[in-house]
């Protein structure tokens, strides 16, 4: 038998390896230090880098470059500045519609809020999150909220029908949260900063970040509220109503026409159930948030069956609150923002919590005509 391999060409050449490797490490470390200094100066995701900072409007210029990383940086920033945020009893997870629950569209929005009933709520939702990434961020941060006993999970029926997941941004963001060194020695951080520099003149120099670092009281002024029957009460909406603007009707809760109930059930079992089972002492409150309006046809067939499978599956795991039919402001031409429903989103959250605590029915925040939004309520 041959004593060594016959077709290997990888025999070590006779070189000075020790010095070459030491020199190579010195080159790599010098380059990494220079990159880290540049990234700390630009700090596009507002990670709280030490030292002088470039005067950017980071929220406008960089937030959308990587929403997962921006969210992680925001959570870390708020937890550092507001130690009492760790006392939150409610955690919200989900996408931008769930993020709107704590008033993301307001200038003084924050992740940590106290609602009108005095409940402390921390928002871990972020724009573009899906079911998997929502649970990833929850798993990463749940230990930082020892008093949190309820998870408000904004679910998205379309995602439960679709099994394709993209977790790369969140994986990278969580890796950075665990070790910020990756943020500083990443070329991507520098690329984002340099791309932002090109657009600099489009943005105002700097916003006051301090507004975000305090707890916001979440009680929407009455004029912004709407009833469950959705007549508008804000001025712009009234204007359209008065002008006999077409009021579109949302007929279906989803854009997925051929959903497969078995796929929905399987996704609930494989994605959501493990998270619920891991935390038996926590209560999960699932909220089906408003969807894009679909006007062509009412829910029927496989679509309706899939939706029913979602509702049944989630009821088996916690409390299910359906706000999917809630419409945003309508105009003559389109829904202005039928999904995020902005000022109504915090009210939906508060109704959902109230219903989960008192499922027999309780006057709604949204429906101030005395109706209850709770299933089984009035």
């Amino acid at each position: 038998m041959p004593s060594s391999i016959s077709n290997s060409s990888h025999r070590a050449p006779d070189l000075n390896y020790r010095n070459a490797i030491l020199c190579a490490l010195a080159v790599a470390l010098t380059a990494a230090a220079a990159l880290a200094a540049a990234n700390a100066y630009f700090d596009p995701f507002d990670f709280g880098a030490p030292g002088p900072k470039a005067p950017f409007d980071r929220v406008n210029q960089f937030r959308l470059k990587n929403t997962a990383l921006w969210e992680i940086a925001s959570v870390e920033r708020v937890l550092k500045a507001l130690p009492e945020a760790s006392d939150a009893q409610y955690l919200i997870i989900g996408d931008s519609r769930a993020r709107a629950m704590t008033g993301s569209w307001r200038k003084d929005s924050t992740l940590f809020v106290q609602d009108h009933r005095g409940r402390k709520i921390f928002n871990l939702a972020y724009g573009g999150a899906d079911l998997t990434t929502s649970l990833m961020i929850y798993e990463r941060y749940k230990a930082r909220f020892p008093k949190a006993d309820t998870v408000i999970f904004a679910v998205h029926f379309d995602e439960l029908s679709d099994t394709e997941r993209r977790t790369d941004q969140m994986e990278e963001a969580l890796r950075i949260a665990e070790n910020p060194l990756f943020y500083y020695i990443s070329f991507r951080t520098l690329k984002v900063a340099l791309d932002g520099l090109k657009d600099r003149e489009k943005f105002t120099p700097r916003e006051d970040a301090s507004a975000k670092l305090r707890m916001m009281k979440l009680t929407a002024p009455k004029k912004y509220r709407r009833t469950m029957r959705y007549p508008a009460t804000n001025d712009l909406q009234k204007l359209f109503d008065d002008a006999r603007t077409i009021r579109l009707t949302k007929l279906a809760r989803t854009t997925i026409l051929n959903s497969d109930p078995s796929v929905v059930a399987r996704n609930i079992d494989s994605i959501i159930r493990p998270a619920v089972d891991r935390d038996p002492d926590k209560k999960f409150l699932f909220v089906a948030m408003p969807m894009h309006p679909v006007l062509e046809r009412p829910m029927a067939g496989k679509q309706a069956a899939g939706y029913a499978a979602m509702a049944a599956g989630l009821r088996g795991l916690g409390f299910f609150y359906d706000a999917s039919m809630y419409d945003g402001a309508a105009t003559a031409f389109k829904f202005t923002d039928a999904m995020h429903v902005k000022d109504a989103a915090p009210d939906i959250m508060q109704d959902a919590i109230d219903c989960s605590l008192h499922p027999e029915g309780r006057p709604s925040v949204i429906a101030h005509d005395g109706h209850s939004p709770c299933p089984g309520g009035d």
Binding site: M1, S3, S8, H10, R11, P13, A32
Partner: protein, 472 residues
């Protein structure tokens, strides 16, 4: 665990330290065997049991085969083939077979359907199955005596650098190394070059395959319904680079890691895009698989010993089965069939090719390389496409020239520059080795290249993408 994960750094450091601190060769091998099971267990712990079972079955069978004669010998080989290929068939092809069976039933108007099993493919099963198969076949062919040591045999099957994505190591090459305790003596030359190879491989995987090329490939191949000439070509050329740097990157890292422990693994790539024909391509691409297929499938089918027509059939059949080895999908079968057709056509046209090559010299060889590369790219389309119809859309688009969209010019510049440089470098290095080229560089240049590669590995690292060949 994979080489491009953070977990690998402490794993590698600890096993190296333990390996060189231990003083007994037997203990050193035992430690590496245990570490290899831990490495494998990171993917899906229960599947370590399959690896162990496969090892025990083939160890025992090889001894029985060696002692048996005649029909009993053949029967025992058959048992080995059935157990190895049966395992592969269950884990890798059962779902595919059931889906196709159901589709065939539906075509016949039968409404009843068999439930399709949801089977998790044990990572690396195609590689270690082929390793153990080659061992029992070699024992059967009396090329190799059965291993006396279960430890050595288990170590050969499970040695972690090559366990999950090759190179496919032959017992004939590896088992003798387990009898050479001098390999465990620390050699700065071997260790240093092993680290160099690990860095080169990770640079190829993380910087070139994942960061520079993969986004363009994903972009192109997610748009099959609206694909145009340039997007199809650029996406496919980028994929030819992605799969090369991904797989060759893994192989070279594996060879480097093994070398750090003093073990030699076979070469798996030799500048394949510099090939001037398809038989040349398969001598340079995934060498350990093509040699395996040649020695254990093509030759077993009769090779070129049974006449011209039978040679072509054997060639095509070997390549089709080689395609199926890559994955349970018709796209892989078609990819293999396409390469089989290329090889058959090349063999048929060999006199013409030889005459043209002699007449045109260097220009003819460059033309040969270009034609081979372009046809290999056409085949890659089916390897990468989500399904067969997407592949057809790509091929149609690649054959219908159209103006280049403006956004693509800017977005693909870096990737196309990398591919241009890769093809040029492979051409220039086609008859040499990395080692020979590296040894010619001055010290400072070597330090700058190596330092730059280490820096780029860490600073461009994004999400951890699995190696493409893990799925096979």
């Amino acid at each position: 665990m994979v080489f491009n994960s953070w977990a690998f750094i402490p794993f590698f450091a600890l096993t190296l330290a333990a390996y060189y601190l231990l003083r007994s060769w037997r203990l050193q091998k035992t430690m590496l065997l245990g570490a290899s099971y831990v490495f494998y267990g990171f993917f899906h712990p229960p599947y370590v049991l399959i690896l162990v079972a496969s090892t025990l079955i083939d160890f025992k069978l090889s001894h029985w085969i060696a002692r048996a004669e005649g029909g009993r010998r053949r029967l025992l080989l058959l048992v080995s083939l059935v157990s190895n290929l049966g395992m592969l068939a269950y884990f890798k092809y059962a779902e595919f077979a059931l889906e196709n069976f159901n589709a065939a039933l539906a075509q016949l108007g039968v409404t009843a359907q068999f439930p399709v099993w949801d089977i998790v493919l044990p990572v690396g099963i195609s590689y270690y199955t082929f390793q153990t198969l080659s061992y029992t076949i070699d024992v059967y062919r009396r090329k190799l005596p059965p291993s006396d040591s279960l430890l050595d045999f288990a170590f050969f099957v499970a040695f972690f650098p090559q366990l999950v994505a090759g190179p496919i190591v032959r017992a004939l090459d590896f088992l003798p190394q387990t009898q050479e305790p001098q390999r465990a003596r620390f050699s700065s030359r071997q260790f240093g070059w092993g680290l160099h190879l690990l860095v080169f491989g990770l640079f190829g995987k993380i910087v070139l395959a994942d960061r520079a090329l993969a986004p363009l490939v994903d972009y192109a191949y997610s748009r099959a319904n609206e694909i145009d000439f340039w997007t199809a070509w650029i996406g496919t050329i980028a994929f030819s680079g992605q799969i090369f740097f991904d797989f060759a990157g893994y192989s070279i890292s594996a060879i480097g890691v093994a070398l750090c422990y003093g073990f030699e693994l076979p070469d798996n790539f030799r500048f394949p895009y510099a090939a001037t024909g398809f038989s040349d391509f398969w001598r340079r691409w995934h060498i350990s698989l093509s040699q395996w297929l040649r020695d254990y499938l093509y030759i077993s089918l009769g090779g070129n010993r049974k006449g011209e027509v039978r040679t072509y059939i054997n060639l095509a059949l070997t390549m089709i089965l080689g395609g199926l080895w890559h994955g349970a999908a018709w796209t892989f079968v078609f990819w293999g069939a396409l390469h089989g057709a290329y090889l058959v056509a090349e063999r048929l046209l060999q006199p013409v090719i030889d005459a043209a090559g002699k007449a045109s010299g260097l220009a003819g060889r460059i033309a040969g390389m270009a034609i081979t590369y372009i046809l290999v790219c056409y085949a890659w389309v089916f390897f990468r496409a989500r399904d067969f119809s997407d592949g057809v859309k790509f091929v149609e688009a690649m054959s219908a020239p159209a103006p280049m969209p403006a956004h693509l010019r800017e977005g693909s510049a870096l990737a196309m520059a990398i591919m241009g440089a890769t093809l040029a470098a492979q051409w220039m290095m086609r008859d040499t080795t990395i080692e020979a080229v590296w040894a010619k560089y001055p010290f400072l240049l070597r330090a700058l290249i190596l330092g730059g590669a280490i820096f780029l590995i860490f600073s461009t690292r994004g999400e951890q993408r699995a190696f493409i060949y893990f799925q096979f």
